[in-house]
């Protein structure tokens, strides 16, 4: 990595939702700010900027990560995915998103993108995830609206559906 200094901006290049992006940023710029305010993808939300609420969760190389605790420069060369990449088509929801809608897994929707990114990673890595696994992964997220139960139900339904799909496709 080249030497950086605080006085000027530095280039950063990475893959965002399947496309290469290039930006010039100060080395103190957060990934959350880069995504939201420089690139304009505002689906990733910021609720605390200190790593507790989980609203800013994105996937970096397939793993959930807090965009508010990540410097933009840290994702150089990485593959970053945000909530905008979840739906297969602008007018079609992914099975996880559709399950959230069916089960009323959201109210204000502010915590939702982060939760979706965590659960999407979980269900990809662990298609057999059960209620306890889901609850454990959700425990890194704060939701102030729903009381969580409907989120757990939505995630379970999505997992179930994904398993069915896999058996049919197998």
């Amino acid at each position: 990595m080249p030497r950086m200094n605080a006085a000027r901006k530095h280039p950063v290049e990475f893959t965002l939702n399947g496309r290469t992006v290039r930006a010039e940023v100060e080395n103190r710029m957060l990934l959350s700010d880069l995504l939201r305010h420089e690139i304009g993808l505002t689906g990733t939300h910021v609720g605390c900027e200190h790593g507790v609420c989980g609203a800013c969760t994105v996937q970096i190389d397939g793993r959930p990560a807090r965009a508010c605790l990540t410097l933009a420069q840290q994702v150089r060369g990485s593959d970053v995915r945000t909530v905008e990449a979840l739906a297969p088509d602008p007018a079609v929801l992914s099975p996880l998103q559709a399950a959230f809608r069916r089960h009323h897994g959201l109210q204000c929707g502010f915590c939702t993108p982060g939760i979706l990114m965590s659960l999407d990673a979980l269900l990809r890595e662990r298609p057999d995830a059960d209620r306890e696994d889901i609850r454990e992964h959700l425990s890194g997220h704060l939701c102030r609206c729903t009381g969580y139960a409907t989120i757990v139900e939505a995630a379970l339904a999505a997992a179930e559906e994904q398993r069915k799909e896999e058996t049919t496709n197998a």
Binding site: E26, R28, M29, D33, R36, L41, T42, G43, T44, H45, V46, G47, C48, E49, H50, G51, V52, C53, A55, T82, V83, E84, L86, A87, P90, L93, Q97, F100, R101, R102, H104, L106, Q107, C108, G109, F110, C111, T112, P113, L116, R135, L138, S139, G140, H141, L142, C143, R144, C145, T146, G147, Y148, A149, T150, I151, V152
Partner: protein, 989 residues
Amino acid sequence: MTILEKTESLVGRTVERIEDAGLLTGRGRYIDDLPVRQDTAHLAILRSPHGHAEIRTIDTTAALALPGVFAVLTGEDVARLTRSMTVGVKANVECWPMARDRVRYVGEPVALVVAENRYVAEDALDLIEVEYETLAAVIDPEKALAANAPVLHPSLETNLINERSFRYGDPEAAFEAAAHRISIRIAYPRNSCTPIETYGVIAEYDPGEDAYDVTANFQGPFSIHAVISRALNVPGNRMRLRTPPDSGGSFGIKQGVFPYVILAAVAARVAGRPVKWIEDRLEHLTASVSATNRVTTLEAAVTANGRITALSWDQLEDCGAHLRAPEPATLYRMHGNMTGAYAIENVAIRNRVVLTNKTPTGLNRGFGGPQIYLALERLVHKIADELGLDRLDVIRRNLVPADAFPYRTATGGLLDSGDYQAALDRACAEGGLEALRQRRDSARAEGRLYGIGYAAVVEPSVSNMGYITTVLTPDERAKAGPKNGAQAVATVAIDPLGSVTVKVASVPQGQGHRTVLAQVVAERLGLPMQAVYVNTELDTSRDAWSIASGNYASRFAPAVAGAAALAADRIRRRLAAIAAGQLNVTADRVDFKAGKLVDRDNPDNAVSFGRVAAASHWAPGTLPDGTDQTIRETVFWTPEQLQAPTAADGINSSLCHGFIFDFCGVEIDRATGQVRIDSYVTMHDCGRILHPGMVEGQVRGGFAQAVGAALYEEYAYGSDGSFLTGTLADYLIPTVMETPEPVILHHETPSPFTPLGAKGVGEGNCMSTPVCIANAVADALGVEDIRLPLSPSRVSEWLYGEERPPSKPQNAIPVATGASGQRMLTGSGSADVAATRGAVWAMLLDPNTLKAIIPGAHEVRKVTDTHFRAEVTLGIGPVKGRYRADIRLSDMVEPEAVTLSGGTEGALGSGRGMGRITLADTATGTRIAYRYEAAIGGKVASVGGRLLDGAARVVIGQFFQALARHAGGGTPRSVGFLQRLSALFRRRR
């Protein structure tokens, strides 16, 4: 769980939400997502690190000189362009959005910066120099009333800003005649429902028209619009206030954004460009708004069999440092239902409002309910216990009887509908109370700590705009003119293609208004839901609204959705008249079905909705005589039941009164004091249910927040006013792991006073659940004096008594809370150096040496021979900040001993300390011995004490190590634990 599924109509069905597709794909448009003008600048706010201090000087020169900074404003600058915000009681006091000569709470705005981006704006904050003279702070509302208490507002001469007493029926006679008088004293803590999205404001100023245009994630009530306009000194029509399409939760809290609307508006005016401000989480927790904390003494006159004949309330409400609109509304919102779900004829009330060095309070879900029910429902439990009666029997015996509705309460409320006994009986049967009792008994038989709690509450909704005037005396009210009602507004509009748009003056924050309104209007017009488009953005310049507009007091379903139904009905009647001519039938035979208007008796005789609906646009001349247009219909609806307070102070504070009966079982871990909710049953009567899924969502969400309030959450302050819960790692919100699943039951008795029979439902559990859990914990422990939150440390104290200092020394230095209440650190040590005493002495007086040895110092200036100023940067835990240190030398005995005392101050907090350094000759040089005491407050104190203590010790250690190194080597030696401990206890005395 009962889900009341109705399929015959759209209303009452759990349909998928219209809002969700956008929110799930990242296409929500919250305030921070909105496009802004290209020249928009960013606002950052410098806040007080002190709970109470005089501002001596503010130097903004360096901040203004920073490239990229457009403007820096202090409280005086803001005051020049604004007026004091309206205060809701008669009192000689001003209320400014930014401190002028004095700060009164940690987090109070002191200066603001407008800069090209947030990063630069925050850099500039660090360059503003403020000199404070700290004052004694008062945090406890009772202590704030003491004769010698520090007074926050000298013009007021006291901290008691308002007091009123009320008398209904004949309470004295009832107490005189009572077989028993039973009372309780209880305190409700400060907490907040803390939405995950923080405040945000985008403001613009047009100097040509002297007009402001502000977008904010404000939630209402729009009575606050008047407060903002007045403060900005413009007519209401020059203060355009808009809300974004989406809001990330509010729960009342976003009412409190309005002082920042004023600040951002003024900042935009001075900077000459639009200004955007997004609050950060530290700011939100420290300085947004919260529930009031309240100390209540409640006494009941009780008959031998447990019937309550009178209540006497004494409420001491703590509204923080300023009485900010609409406070003291928290204290008065429940005024009409101070007797809860009970038929109690005689009531005495004394209400006092006190100011303390804490953040001003405001709306928070439950608004006044949690405070009164914690006292009332604890008391009902206590009455049963003292009289040896069954607790449930005492509740039953006192409930308002089913045949008494609508029931006029002693204080003037009108309980609209209900069958409390039936709801309670159903809850016990369907919720499995008998099984729960057995569970408790067998747990207890095994020696486990298990308890059952109950709570019966009335949940008011749709506030009477007049209730707050109950704080005025009848004379003052007569002078001010009557205030009452609850104007709800909805518009139904039809475009030239015949499609329908609904517009309401409400501001949803996740409640799904768009879906419910589409259901209500589509059902009335015989359309599929998708055919109706709902817009819930509010723009005071363009939309129909009233001071009661907004989304608060659970008014959506009963009032706003009702107004939309009325507007749709009016359009429907006109459309039927128009269609009647085309179908050649009378209007009463026209039915609305599946997008058509049909002859009820001959379904083949039909015309499309669009065609009839568009007639007003295309061919107004064809409308039948006497039939008005169908292009746009706006309904203002206010219920006649909401009258101004009577001369005798009777007030129907809310239109609807839902009923909730909860019971729960909790188990307490003997070893840890942890409270586990084993089972929770909540029965609701919220009138007619419009969308069962959303009602469940409201109940669950409120319940989860109430569990937080009961067990974890408190905005904690040190007694010096320092704020101790500034991050979400300190202010603990329940995660999925801490949130049990309640059993939710419904018993519907439609409200006769609302268009759809609906009542509010969102706030009830915030009122019933904290006290229900508290009652269960009291039952489990046999403890009467319950305090929230029921944290493990508190519960352990009840189990085992107060924690005593360890009998054997441990390796860590315990932290004491000093007399001032700040976090106290003490320590001592020594270091041997290879230099003479004279040389070491000279070093201590030399700014260059000090610069080299003070950790993180950029600059040390000598003010006088014994006074130095230093600029340092320190990182503690997650927060790194710049501090200014002021160091003075005293008690100098050259070259033997010197006392260093001083303070440091910065955006992140403050510290004061004193260290005595002694120099002694040794064979090889000098032994430097030191002993220090330090106290830390402000934002750093709120980031987690353990981190802080360690970090401070490291910093102080580094100072002396560096001194030793500078003087020629040597290693510092630590003093034994016992010495440190004894120093600590001396301090504690």
